[in-house]
């Protein structure tokens, strides 16, 4: 799922965006705001993937607002009634620029653009990303793309790579925060798996590199929802 927030000073304008978002299965609306400052609080607390942002607002200009965003991984889609800010909009790395009234097809196109952009960012993070963990009095580099799965053993975690495994003093919770959340999913109290390494999934088991990983009951819903996005 891709999370999103919409900001517009006009309630009726938000209604349209709400309706469109509800039609798109991979979007999850985290909230709509007429007050940009409230939205800022929510965004700082938990960043979203896509932000629908009006430009002409009474208390703050949307372009100024987008510059103040702390997360660089948020795809900004500007929505405005009048086209005088288009150039400026693209100067602040907007994904797209929608003119109100917005047609659904045009909206969908912008959303797909944003989706592609976020997936690209995630892939890049995955392919070039790495972490260092302490193991046997050494700092060991681990490329994210090499991780097959991670097993939690009380205070330790065991990171399984294709050739070897690395044992380090860390909890599953701590490592989760260091990994790209769209790729690495908690599937069990003791397991984290990268989606791209999954070979097949049955009702309660995941198969990765000829090993079977159980799906915990309390993690099953979020896991299958994430898998849904990858279904074609």
């Amino acid at each position: 799922m891709f999370t999103c927030i919409a900001i517009d000073d006009e309630p009726l304008a938000l209604e349209v965006i709400k309706k469109y978002i509800a039609k798109i299965y991979f979007l999850e609306l985290k909230g709509t705001f007429t007050d940009a400052f409230e939205a800022k609080k929510a965004l700082d607390a938990s960043p979203v993937d896509i932000l629908f942002l009006d430009i002409q607002m009474p208390d703050i200009n949307g372009i100024e607002f987008s510059k103040s965003l702390s997360s660089k991984n948020t795809a900004v889609i500007f929505t405005t009634a009048f086209g005088e800010y288009a150039v400026e909009g693209f100067n602040v790395d907007a994904i797209d620029y929608l003119l109100k009234p917005i047609e659904y097809d045009r909206f969908l196109k912008a959303v797909y653009k944003a989706k592609e952009y976020i997936e690209y960012l995630n892939n890049q993070e995955l392919n070039q990303g790495y972490i260092f963990v302490k193991s046997d009095y050494q700092m060991v580099k681990i490329n994210l793309k090499d991780i097959l799965y991670i097993e939690g053993l009380d205070d330790y975690i065991k990171i399984y790579l294709s050739q070897k495994s690395v044992l380090t003093l860390m909890t599953l919770k701590t490592i989760t925060q260091k990994l790209p959340p769209k790729e690495f999913l908690r599937v069990h109290r003791s397991y984290i798996v990268p989606i791209s390494k999954i070979e097949n999934v049955s009702k309660s088991k995941i198969r990765i590199a000829d090993r079977e990983i159980p799906i915990g009951v309390s993690y099953s819903d979020s896991f299958f929802a994430a898998m849904e996005d990858k279904m074609s």
């Binding site: 006009e10 304008a13 349209v16 009474p58 208390d59 100024e64 009234p101």
Partner: protein
């Protein structure tokens, strides 16, 4: 007028009085000199040219006609310039409605709101379309005239405010009071709009309560128009935009159309912004 009288009097003195005075003072000397040079026994010794000799009357009339002509042409040019100026200002106001003043933001945002209502199959859709259509028609047809019936201008402002209400959040409450009878009075079109527009432009916040109150009172040929809005610290007013081209245009229009028949007071304190406009029509 003063300059004109001065010219006439000066010319009178110059052509009428001065020769006599001159002769009176130096007459004797000149006479003696003239007699010495060209003695003329037929001329009486104390000859004085009459004040209203045919010569001086002709000169006086010529000057009179000439200066009157200048005066008339001047006046005509001035009134021509003035009506042209009024024409231009009105044209500007009309154009600016579509260009900048009822700005495209208003138009497209309103259309977007109507779109939203229509998508919801809301019962309010038809009324909103009607209001927008009314104000577009007013601007495109009525605003061309020099004056319009006051009721029509009031209806226009009412529709405009109704549409703005649709756009705002529950933080904004709008009071619009009309008191008195318009009694078939005429008014220059779109004269109140810039003040109302500014209230919505600068008086609105989505963070704080932002009341806007508009009062239109008609009494014995005087229209009292008051717009009051709160000020907000977050509202992004650019210093240059604050004095507003809309208001300065309107002031010019008022000067041209209601010279000496209107008063405009703008009161500003840290919390509120109030304009009071009185027009005698």
């Amino acid at each position: 007028m003063i300059a004109y009288t001065t010219i006439i009097i000066t010319l009178l003195i110059f052509f009428g009085v001065f020769p006599r005075l001159y002769q009176h003072l130096f007459g004797g000397d000149i006479q003696r000199f003239a007699n010495a040079v060209r003695p003329n026994p037929n001329r009486p010794r104390n000859f004085r040219p009459p004040i209203l000799s045919p010569g001086s009357i002709t000169i006086f009339l010529l000057v009179f006609i000439f200066s009157t002509g200048i005066k008339v042409i001047n006046q005509w040019l001035q009134s021509e310039r003035r009506s042209k100026q009024i024409e231009n200002e009105k044209l500007n106001a009309e154009l600016s409605f579509l260009k900048a003043q009822i700005n495209p933001h208003f138009l497209f945002n309103t259309l977007n709101n109507i779109y939203s209502l229509a998508a919801d199959k809301s019962d309010l859709t038809a009324a909103a379309v009607m209001k927008l259509s009314n104000i577009m028609r007013y601007v495109l047809t009525e605003a061309k005239n020099d004056t319009v019936p006051l009721e029509k201008e009031i209806q226009f402002i009412t529709d405009y405010i109704e549409l703005q209400k649709m756009r705002t959040t529950d933080k904004t409450c709008i009071d619009f009071i009309i008191a008195g009878e318009s009694n078939g009075k005429q008014i220059s079109p779109l004269i109140f709009l810039p003040f109302v527009e500014n209230a919505f432009k600068y008086g609105i916040s989505t963070r704080e309560l932002s009341p806007i109150s508009i009062l239109l009172e008609m009494q014995n040929g005087t229209i009292h128009f008051q717009v009051k809005n709160s000020k907000h610290k977050y509202t992004n007013i650019r210093p240059a935009a604050k004095t507003g081209i809309g208001i300065s245009n309107t002031k010019r229009r008022l000067d041209l159309l209601y010279q000496n028949r209107y008063t405009l007071n703008i009161d500003e304190d840290p919390k509120d912004y109030t304009i009071n406009l009185n027009i005698h029509v």
